[in-house]
Amino acid sequence: MGLSTTGTRSFAAKKELKKTIAGYCFISPWLIGFLFFTMLPILTSAYYSMTSYDILDDPVFIGFGNFTSMMSDELFWKSIKVTFTYVFFSVPLRLAFALFVAVLLNQKARFLRFHQTLYYLPSILGGSIAVAVMWRRLFMADGAFNAILEIFGLNRGISWIGREDTALMTLVVLAVWQFGSSMLIFLAGLKQIPQSYYEAARIDGARRDQMFFKITIPYLSSVIFFNLIMQLIAGFTVFTQAFVVSGGSGDPLNSTLVYALYLYQRAFKYYQMGYASAMAWVLVLIIGTFTIVLFKSQGKWVFYESKGGK
């Protein structure tokens, strides 16, 4: 008897070991990639952030030097201001548009499939360089935007991408224009809401706006939450659009110098790898703070069905 229990035990242990080996075999591509292309860079980045390093010579340890010089770097603060402005306008506007159009598309009417495609198309093409280049042309003094204003007699010959006070807004518009993916996610969420909720509310004499704020929004809150986090991260790390629209410079007068662009310049224009790494960690801190605050605030405004909340 004693023999047979040790027998089954060792059999079970063998099976367990086999599972572990098989498991690690299957995840090995990711695990190796993670160790070499993510973990190793994270550790070296943490070290570089404490050094002065121009690639040619060996890194020189300077402690928190990069972080203290950042505090007195005017361009650093400018890039923070530009990025926060960009996020502050583009993320809520994009989500609001996405939700608004998703609600419009979530009803019984004709051609909805066609409309959905039209609204989604800019999101599919919007990431391409061709579109970013076109955007610059669109908002030049002699671009199509002014030509359209001309029709309404409003053209004052403003170069929207050339002026300090409007250039960033063209980037915001470019971001908001691509609300399609969020819209599709909202639409999928809306389709999950049981129609009986609305019917019951209608019987109780609820108005449309009441139903929207009392049923739709709470029901969608987890989807909104998810979208918000993803869009915040994308917003804080925006690079390509600003790079292409400003020709890599962040001009006019650094008004489009978003954080990731300034970091790129420090690293690959001036070869200050230490300073750029330190900037990257500040970015992690910013994104991390926003993510944590949002997660903490979840309990107040995000409702999950399984918890029975409504």
Binding site: F37, P41, I129, A144
Partner: protein
């Protein structure tokens, strides 16, 4: 009667507004396409979508680019990069996803959580050290720094596929166990064939992202011979040089064709993919 006609009027108004708004949405793209057929003088200060006559000069001029390089080379480079990365990322992600979804091994939950965290890690953190590593091993001005990491799977795709595999009934695996199959056989014979929708979705997205990728090529491909279409377009439109807008719009339009073609062919899968995972198009 009155209420019925009011309803019809409402429906018509809804359609008119939706179409008008939709037109505004795609106007910039149409404007770009129509500009690719216009003379440079015609482009300035015009919002019109109809070129005076269809000129293909822009395409001919644009395709020749500068010096001896033509867009043939850039399209080849983009296709090479996009296709190889996509094959690598889809196969490896499926493999890893199976491990996470179906094998309850020790540490599985821990590594899955780690993978989840890497999804919100900004690329900027690893950009600089990765560049330095690749420089030290002599990978600059090759496609290796862009393609090799893709063969390690992408957390977004792995996550999507794990979700998908969890939806496949476990009974299928169990009957295969009884037939004496190991994990590898279960993956290749049972799970992999059933993953078709997830594979199509990730293939499309991977292709899009690689085709439109800009930062990667900007960092690692510094010789014009290696430029992808995105990089060539951007060099084309450098504000420092006088810009041939007609040619840019022509090549820009061409660069969108693969993306549009796939969008039209696979729209159903795209919708599903975005809706279930929240991936960005």
């Amino acid at each position: 009667m009155a209420s019925k006609s009011r309803k019809v009027a409402g429906k018509i108004l809804f359609q008119v507004l939706m179409f008008a708004f939709g037109l505004i949405m795609i106007y910039p793209i149409l404007w770009m396409i129509s500009n690719s057929f216009k003379t440079t003088n015609e482009i300035f200060g015009s919002a019109s979508l109809l070129p005076e006559k269809l000129l293909i000069d822009n395409y001919v001029r644009g395709w020749r680019y500068v010096g001896r390089l033509t867009f043939t080379q850039f399209f080849k480079n983009s296709l090479f990069y996009s296709c190889f990365s996509t094959i690598g990322v889809v196969v490896s992600s499926a493999f890893v996803a199976f491990g996470f979804a179906r094998i309850p091994f020790k540490g599985s939950k821990f590594w899955f959580a780690v993978m989840f965290l890497t999804m919100i890690l900004p690329y900027q953190v690893i950009m600089v050290p990765q560049f330095i590593i690749f420089q030290k091993i002599g990978w600059i001005n090759t496609f290796k720094p862009l393609i090799v990491p893709m063969f390690m799977g992408l957390p977004f795709f792995i996550f999507l596929m794990v979700q998908f595999i969890r939806g496949i009934p476990v009974e299928l695996d169990e009957s295969a166990w009884i037939d004496g199959c190991g994990y590898f056989a279960i993956f290749t014979r049972i799970i992999a064939p059933l993953m078709k929708p997830a594979v199509i979705t990730t293939t499309i997205f991977s292709f899009y992202w690689r085709w439109e990728d800009f930062l990667g090529p900007l960092l690692y491909l510094n010789k014009p011979k290696l430029y992808t279409v995105s990089l060539a377009l951007r060099m084309f439109s450098d504000p420092q040089t006088s810009t041939d807008w007609g040619a840019i719009f022509a090549m820009g339009t061409l660069s969108l064709i693969p993306v549009l073609a796939i969008f039209i062919a696979f729209q159903k899968y795209l919708d599903q993919g975005i809706a279930t995972t929240g991936m960005k198009g």
